[in-house]
Amino acid sequence: MGILEVKNLSLSINGSKILNGLSVSFQEGHIHAVVGPNGAGKTTLGYTIMGLEGYRDFTGDIIYKGKSIKNLSVYERARKNITLAWQEPARFEGLTVEDFIKSSAKNKSRETVTDVLEKVGMSPGEYINRAVDKGLSGGERKRIEFASILVMEPELVILDEPDSGIDVASLNNMFKAIKFLKSNGTTVILITHSLAVLKQAEDAFLLCHGDIIQSGSIDKVSVYFKGKCIPCDHKNLPE
């Protein structure tokens, strides 16, 4: 049994079925990838696991450490050490990088903040007093959000398109940080359609039209993903 079991999950938004009876199991301490084309339901799966607003009205169940979390709020799920990084992180006017990161930290020292900024390849001296607002690029905010996750020391983290907006030079730092999470026993779910990110995982699930249609090793899924995962007529066409 995995640390997180998604069972027969179906969710519709504005009358469109986005998740279609999806079941999947995530193993404790593993790095999993959820891949698939645009619109497959990857991000929706992540938001539903996190319990975000607008993603709570589903059928099926989400079992974390043997207990259903379907009726828990975002905050309550976070208190169980589950968290999520958005594809496009929020902006926080006036809130400094230091205050933002400290808000998630168990250890709220400045050293902790500088340490995680360095882990995501950011110079603390340059960033620690800047505001997490439109003065930062999307890639910079992405790395700062990732730093806020590192200080949280989560047990399970969902990273939605972790390479989005990240320059090539910084990508390796992000990948190292993902490995760092694993080394601390964190279960990582990478939501991606990038082969570079997929290769960071230990196994993968291919999502299409709201259901898992393939799973297994990275090699197995990446071949399928590259070769076949285009608009198709397989069994999971939406209703």
Binding site: P89, R91, G94, D99, E145, I149, M152
Partner: protein, 306 residues
């Protein structure tokens, strides 16, 4: 309340004991401490319920340390009228840090009537911080008319985030000459039955004049706010921007009336306004980091008002 007690409330003890820092401390209608530095003249006349102040900075003078003004009313019930004329000489530079402290107010009215002229090429900044009582029994009516001569720079920040607002009615208008730069920022946090009215206007008369009006208002419970921002561009290549954000919670009501008026085809003004509850994505991001909804809202609002 003594000078020391007012200084303590304003948290400006070092500045108040520094002989190189110009300062003026007023409690209700009494001048209780002054200090001036070379180039700066401060004349005061005690009037009925207030003080008439005349501040002159000579030409080509730079005041290194911010000038501290402390306008306090330590009484529970009082009227305080401050008439202030400020004249900044050409190419001079000065910053003023004003503390308006009404720690015991139950029924206090503070009226400010300012006339400010910033000379050609001068730089003048005015930061005004209000510290009010928790009673909400205060009415604040600050009014200022500011004239910027060519190449002058002016920045003002009004902050009222400690204690209850009570009722505030800000009315500032700045007229900008050629190549002058104006920035007016207001940050207010209201709750209870506080009433916030902000009326700020910038008239960009001169060529290449620039102006920004920024308002950040957070309201809780039954507080109400109306922000009326007006920018008028008249000069060639005048540029302006109006930016208003108001966050409301509970039964609070906020409105924004941005008026942008361009009278010159070579000028350009933009505006943005956002009114409503706390941004859902910000809130959920923080809640996904183990902050409760209350903690997350507090952090977001603190950032907005920072």
């Amino acid at each position: 309340m003594s000078v020391e007690e007012l200084v303590k409330a304003a948290n400006i003890y070092p500045e108040m004991h520094d002989k190189d820092t110009a300062r003026l401390v007023i409690n209700k209608d009494k001048v209780i401490d002054t200090n001036v530095v070379t180039g700066l003249t401060v004349n005061t006349v005690e009037i009925k319920d207030g003080v008439d102040i005349n501040i002159v900075l000579k030409e080509n003078v730079t005041i290194e340390k911010p000038v501290h003004l402390c306008f306090g009313v330590t009484h529970r019930e009082a009227i305080q009228k401050i008439i202030m004329n400020i004249n900044i000489g050409q190419n001079s530079i000065v910053s003023i840090f004003a503390h308006c402290i009404f720690p015991n107010a139950v029924d206090v009215k503070h009226v400010m009537d300012g006339k400010i002229k910033v000379g050609r090429g001068a730089k003048y900044s005015y930061f005004e911080r209000h510290i009010h009582s928790e009673e909400g029994g205060i009415t604040v009516i600050p009014k200022a008319r500011i004239i910027l001569e060519d190449y002058a720079k002016f920045k003002t920040e009004f902050e009222l985030i400690k204690g209850r607002v009570g009722s505030i009615d800000i009315d500032y208008e700045t007229t900008c000459g050629n190549h002058s730069v104006m920035e007016m920022i207001t940050r207010i946090s209201g709750r209870g039955d506080d009433i916030v009215n902000v009326k700020e206007a910038g008239i960009l008369v001169g060529e290449k004049a620039k102006g920004v009006l920024t308002s950040r208002i957070a309201l809780r419970q039954n507080a109400r706010a109306q922000v009326y921002n007006k920018l008028v561009a008249m000069g060639d290549y005048a540029r302006g921007h109006v930016d208003c954000q108001e966050i409301i919670q509970g039964n609070a009501v906020a409105s924004a009336i941005p008026i942008v008026e361009v009278r010159n085809p070579k000028a350009h003004i933009t505006h943005e306004a956002s009114i409503g509850s706390v941004d859902s994505k910000q809130l959920q991001t923080l809640m996904a980091r183990r902050l409760s909804e209350t903690e997350a809202v507090e952090l977001i609002v603190a950032g907005l008002l920072k």
